[in-house]
Amino acid sequence: MTGKRRKGGVLSDLMIPLIAIGILILFNLIRDPGFFSISLSTNNSGNAVLTGNLISIIDSASELAIIAMGMTLVTAATGGQDISVGAVGAITGSVFVQVLKGSGDITAGTVVLGFLACCLVTVLFTSFNGVLVAFFRIQPMIATLILFSCGRSIAYWITGSATPQLESPIIKAMGMTIPGIPVPTPIFMVILVGLLLLLFFKTSNIRLYTESVGINQGASRLNGINPTLIKLLSFIVLGVCVAVAGVISTCRLGQVSHKTLLIDIEMDAILAVAIGGNSLGGGRFRLSGSILGAYIIQMLTTTLYAMSVAPANVKAYKAIVIILIVVAGSPVIKTALSSFWHRLKNNRAGAVSREVN
């Protein structure tokens, strides 16, 4: 979506994540040529659905991809990250369930109502973070530590000790597949959120302002931008993303568990931003990179499980691969590579011009 901005820069900016995903795909194909095969089968509710590792990877990465988009914006504007998104997502889930339970039958109308309530509540919580960061200038990690620690307790207060179940075809359709459409619904949600953000980017100056604030806040102010508002805005956008992700996750499970809903997603989201080639120090950003990062993380997880790595060890292996990707994309390695490339080119050019002289 940003291809036009830096002509010719797209590929080189996304090179590391693209290479990473290429290697993962290749690795899996060698390991198991049928790894990515897709088949049509019938699920429990009698719908024809596409199944296979590829579909499952893209499907399960949905929440991560959506939150990573919001996280990218917060990172760019504030040079910091919101570590409370998982906990706030749990609050979202609880609110969603509570609204549906409270309004009796689950109908399209109550689901929409529940979703809107989720958006409102979630945005309120992320704005709380936003105000601490933008207005009181507290380090984002510290500011969001508050909700990181108590968010899940708040979720618990909302739903009580029960683990409420949501039984309804509408919920199933939202969390899994809509009858007649063989592709999981969450995938469409990612596309929808992506398109909405794209629309927002096209019709406003959010990108220019956010990057400008992230790079040089003082100069931005002298050019008439309000850095406080822009930072707050990034948290509001993140809030909407978390609300959507929380609702998807709740529908997927058909229940809300305040302890496990979107657990650990904040770390994966931050990683997705970094793997996507974005600087965690703020400034220039690329949403497509973060989305790609989300799928890389999910593909990695799925691959490890497919290799029957014990769940306890998965995290360690994941960490190793992620270190490799992040280091490969680091400025040190990048400049080293490009100066090596330059020298190769110039050795020839230099030799020629010395002959001439």
Partner: protein
């Protein structure tokens, strides 16, 4: 290596994507000489220096330093430091939130375990011996740019160096401070230090230098003895052609405007940094704030634009009372402001030249009215052409432009908003002689077309050429206003220094 030579650079090449910054450049520095490195904006001066100090890796060429066998292999500023090459870069590269003493010594001590007490004492002694008005414990950001610049120099000369490099060290200093710095340079010279001096001030070159090396478009024009190269020839060596007559600019229109209708009026305007003052500018008038550094001239214009927190006062624009408490309100009222500190307040380093040019205009158009890519490119193109900004492309990040060209981009940004009142704080800082007169001409042309301009410059001569009214400040108060016949060097200096003599 020949006797009496401390440094030779031979056949230096350096390219950046899309730019050949240096092509086959030679440079020789002798012991105990002050050697000026001259050239237009983007000629490659800073690049040559960064190649020498290991900030950039050269593509080809050889560097030899006295006391080293064979070609020197300098891969980092630390390496350069270790073989006796100290540098003060064009852009201040100190840490604003550390103390003065810390800035002078950090990354300096090769040994371990410097004691704070010792460090502060040494810093204090050094500051005193150089006559720098700063306390060791003071936070650097609380010093004026001039003092910060001097601290950077103190940091560099502290080491026992053979080669001292000063890249435009005087651009933010006033005459007295420049004299002080020259004293320091001559002192180091007599101790045998070779000094490379980059500047755009011709008089300064003739005041201190022994030799001049001129670069043009990344190529060597030649090395000259200072006596054998009159100023006119130096300028044409730099530009490749003679400079159009530097004679008086016509500021008649602006003088006539003085008595006209006011565009902007303030009474009792004050900010967190500026004491209450009254100010008025007529349509088409060009005026200036002058005074020593720290006299409050920059702070006053910042108050007009609400760059600092405004604490009081009444403002009228076009005769109507307006509230200007945020920069954006000033912009909406038709005011533009080019800040003094380009790196801190001006450039958005990682954004492209195009984005930096359209930024202020874009903000004025509003959050939901983005310019189309076509419009942006057209605007950027227009100003790159008019101001002759040297850049590989519109998409180049502004941080990789030469200092003077960055300044032009910021100027373009404000010209593009077509303000009715433009405040320029040191607009020609770091700008080469040719372009400097172009900018002065431009200012007067804009005034002719009805724009009001406030101009601040450390060079009084430049202010005299452009302004029809000078507001003189001392100790953060307005102490005088000069117009007409009073606009001469003598009167201005006297008013700045104090009323006693008058």
């Amino acid at each position: 290596m020949q006797d009496g030579i401390v440094l030779t650079m031979r056949g230096i090449y350096k390219s950046f994507p899309g730019v050949r910054a240096l092509q086959n450049v030679d440079f020789t520095l002798r012991k105990g000489e002050i050697h000026a490195l001259m050239g237009e904006n983007g000629a490659g001066k800073s690049t040559l220096i960064k190649v020498l100090t290991g900030v950039y890796e050269k593509d080809a060429g050889e560097i030899r330093v006295e006391g080293q066998d064979g070609p020197a292999d300098i891969r980092s500023p630390q390496d350069a430091q270790n073989i006796g090459i100290s540098t003060v870069y064009q852009e201040i590269t100190l840490c604003p939130n550390l103390s003065v003493a810390e800035n002078m010594f950090i990354g300096r001590d090769k040994g371990v375990g410097v004691r704070w007490k010792d460090m502060e004492k040494k810093a204090g002694d050094l500051l005193k011996s150089l006559g720098i008005p700063a306390r060791p414990k003071q936070q650097l950001s609380s010093c004026s740019i001039a003092v910060q610049q001097m601290v950077a120099i103190a940091r560099a000369v502290d080491a026992d160096c053979k080669v001292l490099i000063l890249d435009e060290p005087t651009s933010s200093l006033d005459d007295k401070e420049v004299e002080m710095l020259f004293g320091l340079m001559r002192d180091l010279k007599s101790r045998g230090v070779g000094i490379i001096f980059v500047t755009h001030f011709l008089e300064q070159v003739y005041a201190v230098s022994d030799r001049i090396t001129v670069l043009r478009n990344g190529e060597l024009v030649g090395e000259f003895e200072v006596q054998s190269l009159p100023q006119v020839e130096l300028v044409s060596a730099m530009m490749g052609h003679a400079l159009a007559e530097l004679s008086d600019l016509d500021k008649q229109g602006s003088s006539d405007a003085l008595s006209g209708e006011a565009f902007y009026e303030a009474s009792g305007l004050s900010s967190a940094e500026a004491r209450p003052f009254d100010f008025r500018i007529a349509k088409g008038e060009v005026n200036g704030f002058t005074g020593l550094l720290g006299s409050g001239r920059s702070e006053s214009v910042r108050a007009i634009f609400a760059a600092d927190h405004v604490t009081g006062g009444h403002v009228k624009v076009n005769g109507k009372p307006v509230n200007i408490s945020k920069p954006v309100q000033a912009m909406k009222a038709g005011i533009g402001y080019l800040p003094e500190d380009r790196k801190r307040d001006g450039i958005i380093a990682d954004l492209s030249v195009r984005e930096n040019i359209i930024l202020a205009l874009q903000v004025m158009k509003g959050f939901f009215h983005p310019l189309s890519r076509k419009e942006e490119e057209a605007f950027a193109d227009e100003y790159i052409k008019t101001l002759e900004i040297k850049t590989a492309s519109q998409e180049t990040p502004i941080k990789s432009l030469s200092g003077g060209n960055q300044q032009k981009v910021i100027l373009a940004r404000w010209l593009l908003t077509h303000p009715q009142y433009l405040i320029l704080d040191e607009p020609t800082r770091g700008i080469d002689v040719g372009t400097k007169t172009e900018i002065q001409r431009l200012v007067l042309k804009l005034a002719e077309e009805g724009m009001s301009v406030t101009f601040i410059s450390s060079e009084i001569e430049e202010m005299l050429r452009t302004c029809s009214r000078l507001i003189v400040m001392r100790d953060r108060k307005i102490v005088g206003e000069l117009t007409g016949d009073q606009l001469n060097q003598d009167t201005v200096m006297k008013t700045i220094a104090g009323g006693e003599q008058a």
